[in-house]
Symmetry: none
Subunit: 301 residues, 2 copies
Amino acid sequence: MKEIFSGDSPPAPAALAAKVRTLAPSMTRSMQLVAEAVAGDPAGCAALTVTGLAERTGTSEATVVRTARLLGYPGYRDLRLALAGLAAHQESGRAPAVTADIAVDDPIADVVAKLAYDEQQTLADTAAGLDTVQLGAAVAAASTARRIDVYGVGASSLVGQDLAQKLLRIGLIAHAHTDPHLAVTNAVQLRSGDVAIAITHSGSTGDVIEPLRVAFDHGATTIAITGRPDGPVTQYADHVLTTSTARESELRPAAMSSRTSQLLVVDCLFIGVAQRTYETAAPALAASYEALAHRHNPRTR
Amino acid sequence: MKEIFSGDSPPAPAALAAKVRTLAPSMTRSMQLVAEAVAGDPAGCAALTVTGLAERTGTSEATVVRTARLLGYPGYRDLRLALAGLAAHQESGRAPAVTADIAVDDPIADVVAKLAYDEQQTLADTAAGLDTVQLGAAVAAASTARRIDVYGVGASSLVGQDLAQKLLRIGLIAHAHTDPHLAVTNAVQLRSGDVAIAITHSGSTGDVIEPLRVAFDHGATTIAITGRPDGPVTQYADHVLTTSTARESELRPAAMSSRTSQLLVVDCLFIGVAQRTYETAAPALAASYEALAHRHNPRTR
DNA sequence: TCACATGTGAAAGATATTTTCAACCCCGGG
DNA sequence: CCCGGGGTTGAAAATATCTTTCACATGTGA
């Protein structure tokens, strides 16, 4: 099951830190040690051989190779090459490193700056970690779907509603379900040619997995948008779109950055679909824009 | 003679092509072949092993190693590492022209890059344009409010729901209204010490202005989150938080970037309030996190 | 044409990487 | 509390990769 992920993931260009964070939960203790070392000091690690890195992290060569594999490389050699590239990158980029946690006594101006920076980072990570092949497949499926059902609860429900709202605006038949029971009830109606989309950061939200499973069993094309590409939800997903996991602090719940990440993915999906259905999407967008204008005060200024 | 070059040259950063040119005259025929290949296609060569490169250049492994030495590296392995770094550098150099609008025929990868870039831009603009004094005042009002009502319709309603959801999670009494009639009905209940927040990108959405006016008239502290600080909605707002307006294209409706901007503002507001009510917010956050954990599949890994 | 100097690659030798496999550790059940 | 059992781990074997050696080829000037 898991081979699918390590298999389809491309060599991964620069978003290594993000990848480490995404995959960390599915790693064993020693693997995390290696991943941390690698993410923390790419340049230093690039200079080390397998044996060297194993020693430095207090683990074994085997573990190092295993970690490299999990991160999506064929072996350590390739990870090392990527590391060298990353190091060169950082060298030129000179990271601003404004990455302090938000503290209780931060002045409001700092909060704004840190939050904006964090969200920008999340966006960059998400974009870098998004598998465009999977995205393309998802877009293709959604573009030609008879109907599209979206499942999400909690914070993700808002993202789901956002997606459904936008798809509706370009003339597709989309619906966001927030009630798990109704979601399952409706999922039964789906069949081949329909699309079901589950949104869950943790990848293990039962209320969302269940309707996706039903949709899957009924032959619909299923898509999972999750931060845990190895989570249970992917069992029933034809296509997996990975969102990034940013570090959270006490004041900044994970939901916040995962939402940013999810919205970007959803937007990409939407734009992709709009491109593919341009003939119908463009007039529909224009029409809905027109309709909205009349709801506003005529004297806009 | 040659030791001079290999001796004084540091690992050689990126100016490899130049080095090749300088040293070419002192190279033998086969070595030049290797050097040319390396300078011409760093990325491609980085993927090759000694044997591979030897074959590709029609020479032998020994020659490849000799060339690496001449270029100043201890051995081929190190040359290869440098090559990988160089390749990454070149890669980053070619910007995908992300500043352009999203076109109908953009490949999916470009869509992702452009969208991520645009949203990052929106965040930066919003953070720069946000009046921290107004924000501070809004935070102060919300922190001590008896109850908080949030108004938003259309795309903004999701932002309002997001805010209310989060405020609820830290123990405040907040409610997001999407039905204009109910919103007005409830606004009548507000009085001094309560807070009403209106979210509207255009600043002239009647359905949102009306409840804010009622709340204002009843003595509540009113806050407007809008992209038009001169719009009608600000008439009834004690504090105005400005969101940024990014350019929109045919495929990318304004709602998309305004949403990003609104969410950042709302997040800042939330964090500010959480800081001010830390004593009660922290345990409440922990408790809600705890409660959620049990909804998930126990076997997270 | 021959002695000599230099360039070259095959193969041996040294390192590094990957795989295998048995010991280990933790966890849940009896 | 003890005892499997499944997953994790590292030592060492197996393999691949890199480096060195060395003998041969090639060309050059007397």
